[in-house]
């Protein structure tokens, strides 16, 4: 059976939902005739027409605002941010309008805002960011960050069907580098459920997105030294699978929190607090964080390589932690 790439998995997920539910439509910059900057919507214009695959002006806030309006009328819009970096322009509509409608006046806003995030492709400061935490800090939103093609498809379908606003960060480094055989039947990945990517006994690495692969690479290296990593892929950050994190930490008694996002205010800090509050007595060593430094994402390859967490960082920290 053919392998499906991560980017194709997203495309299939949206396509299938559009076939199944005529309320679903896509709007964004260059999503129509061009098929999207990364081809997530390739071929959709021909199939669904210009009123379901809508090329918009360069107006991220307007795109999300329009998606909110359509959603209030019962539609299921999927808004594309050409790069996740540009979601900052729509921050107000997402955090003030979409996120608070249900709480304020009981009106659900079933929109999906999706876009390519992450570095490793020399995109520089405005085509490489990981903006998830701005949205994780906003009650009323859901935030997902798939790492595999299966999850990319299952989570986009879950996001489209969800009655609340979902921010879907796909990792552009994974678009064509990650592929797998996908089931032919209709499946979703529930929002808020983590997945164990490697079972291990010595320590847990909690991570998400492209960092899952860095962790797997490190685990292979560490295996040679007899250090056995458990790797937990969160998949969703809001809500996140607290029980899965605590269960794994209670089992391995040591934990590394890993993300590509910068350090201060990153998800690792939140996880560290929860582990400390709810599993302190199980810990046999300090909670360790591996993250990008607190800088913008730089362009030049040596700078970007320095910026991004690497397998060697995990190997080093795991050895230190193992010694406890």
């Amino acid at each position: 059976m053919a392998l499906t790439t991560y980017v194709e998995a997203i495309r299939q997920g949206i396509w299938e939902e559009m076939e199944k539910d005529e309320r679903v439509f896509v709007l964004g910059e260059d999503v129509g005739i061009y098929g999207g900057a990364f081809k997530v919507t390739a071929g959709m214009l021909e199939r669904f027409g210009e009123w379901r695959i809508i090329d918009t002006p360069i107006s991220e806030s307007g795109i999300v605002g329009a998606a909110i309006g359509a959603a209030l009328m019962g539609m299921r819009p999927v808004a594309e941010m050409q790069f996740a970096d540009f979601i900052s322009c729509a921050f107000d509509q997402i955090t003030n309008f979409a996120a608070k409608c249900r709480y304020r006046w009981g009106a659900g806003v079933p929109i999906v805002v999706r876009g390519p995030s992450g570095g490793g492709v020399h995109g520089g400061p405005f085509h490489s960011q990981n903006p998830e935490m701005y949205y994780v800090h906003t009650p009323g939103l859901k935030v997902v960050c798939p790492a595999t093609a299966y999850d990319a498809k299952g989570l986009i379908k879950a996001a489209i069907r969800d009655p609340d606003p979902v921010i879907y960060f796909e990792h552009k480094f994974l678009y064509r580098r990650v592929k797998e055989e996908l089931p032919s039947d209709d499946f979703v990945v529930p929002i808020g459920k983590a997945a164990i990517r490697r079972t291990g006994s010595d320590m847990t690495v909690v991570t998400y997105g492209a960092m899952v692969y860095i962790a797997l690479e490190a685990a292979k290296e560490l295996e040679k030294e007899g250090i056995d990593l458990e790797i937990l892929d969160l998949r969703s950050l809001l809500p996140f699978d607290k029980e899965a994190v605590l269960d794994s930490v209670r089992k391995t008694n040591k934990v590394i929190l890993l993300h590509e996002d910068t350090r201060i205010g990153g998800f690792a800090g939140e996880l560290a607090a929860i582990i400390s509050e709810e599993a302190f007595e199980y810990l046999d060593g300090p909670i360790r964080r591996i993250t990008a430094p607190d800088t913008p994402v730089p362009y030049s390859p040596p700078l970007e390589e320095f910026f991004l967490p690497k397998a060697s960082d995990i190997v080093r920290v795991a050895r230190e932690l193992y010694a406890y």
């Binding site: 439509f25 009123w51 379901r52 809508i54 918009t56 002006p57 107006s59 806030s61 307007g62 795109i63 999300v64 605002g65 329009a66 998606a67 909110i68 309006g69 359509a70 959603a71 209030l72 009328m73 019962g74 539609m75 819009p77 107000d92 509509q93 003030n96 309008f97 608070k100 409608c101 249900r102 709480y103 304020r104 006046w105 009981g106 009106a107 659900g108 009650p139 009323g140 859901k142 009655p163 609340d164």
Partner: protein
């Protein structure tokens, strides 16, 4: 640009005759809703707020009642309204009960937002009323999206979207107007140009003379209306609604008016030259309309008194009920962040 107005004593420089006069029933409904709005907001601002019964902010539209009432009066139930903060008449015409509104202001569980929100930050999807947010102008792209959904589904519904002059400085306003015009969706944008955004006068807000001038940049018709002349407002709105309903796209209507209060109940508007209040007091939309109806033989002094008494009673009753309504339970704070299923 021409100003749509029935009375040349107003700011009209170049009236656009002839104006279509609604049916007698509609005219009397307009009077009722304008007077109800005036009295309701008077009670809210000058009584309940000052008595400490409203704990949060209060923003009223005194002097601007003709705009929401004149533009919403003939909408269909399935049309959608996105009011802003000085459009109480829209809520009343759409059938939001007085008790619900007053309970909302008094933070009760029975208010439109069950205590989650205050004042006119309220909506009701079953009445096709969309709650606005304090980031003024955000409802403009939202209205474009509502119109888009109607166009996609081939519905002949329309959206009315309200905002003030200040909101037209926000980027969202420009993005939303542009998108609505590009998509030719059935939206009527109604600007309450009351000449002050909080304390900032219009000349510090924009370098063009009229809000309607901005329409040309986005390829939609812009029309200036005497916002204190309900007949002119309703005439312009009716034409714009018809245009939208028949698939010709959005219109921007600028209603020239004046905010006869401060920005909010705690603002004494000391920065507004007193002669401006005097000038606009003479152009009060309700007084003007009462004169018009009297001249037309549709009302009399005693009928107006009776109407006022009826309105006072309706509001008295609603206040009594709302005051007895319970506050929300503290734990309700945690509810309804997400869909909780049935």
């Amino acid at each position: 640009m021409k100003v749509n107005s029935t009375n040349s004593q107003t700011l009209a420089r170049d009236a656009v005759p002839p104006i279509t006069i609604p049916t007698d029933k509609t005219l009397l409904d307009m009077l009722y809703y304008m007077k109800l709005t005036r009295e309701l907001e008077f009670r809210i601002e000058r009584k309940l707020y000052r008595q400490g019964k409203i704990v949060g902010g209060v923003y009223v539209g005194r002097g601007q009642e003709a705009i929401a009432v004149g533009s919403c009066i003939d909408l269909r139930a399935d049309d959608v309204v996105c009011p802003s903060h000085r459009d109480m008449g829209a809520f009343l015409i759409r059938g939001m009960p007085l008790r619900t509104i007053l309970a909302q202001y008094m933070a009760r569980k029975t208010g439109a937002t069950r205590g989650k929100e205050g004042n006119m930050h309220m909506g009701d999807l079953s009445k096709n009323l969309i709650a606005f947010v304090s980031m003024l102008g955000d409802n403009v792209p939202v209205a474009a999206g509502i119109g888009l959904s109607m166009k996609m589904r081939g519905q002949d519904r329309v959206v009315l979207c309200f905002f003030g002059d200040g909101a037209t400085s926000r980027g969202d306003w420009h993005e939303g107007i542009n998108m609505a015009s590009v998509w030719k969706v059935p939206v009527v944008f109604v600007c309450n140009n009351n000449q002050y955004a909080y304390s900032t006068p219009l000349e510090r807000q924009m370098a063009v003379e009229n809000i309607a001038d901005r329409a040309e940049a986005y390829g939609l018709p812009g029309e200036i209306v005497d916002g204190n002349d309900i007949l002119a407002v309703s005439d312009s709105a009716t034409r714009a609604i018809e245009r939208a309903r028949s698939g010709h796209g959005p219109t921007l209507i600028e209603c020239k008016t004046f905010r006869m209060t401060g920005h909010s109940a705690h603002d004494d508007a000391g920065y507004v030259p007193p002669e401006l209040f005097e000038y606009w007091e003479e152009r009060d939309p309700i007084n003007r309309f009462e004169r018009f109806l009297t001249e037309r033989g549709l009302t009399t002094t005693s009928a107006l008194d009776q109407l006022q008494t009826r309105i006072n009673h309706e509001i008295d009753d609603a206040i009594q009920l709302a005051e007895k309504d319970p506050f929300p339970d503290p734990e309700d704070c945690l509810k309804d962040v997400y869909d909780e299923g049935e």
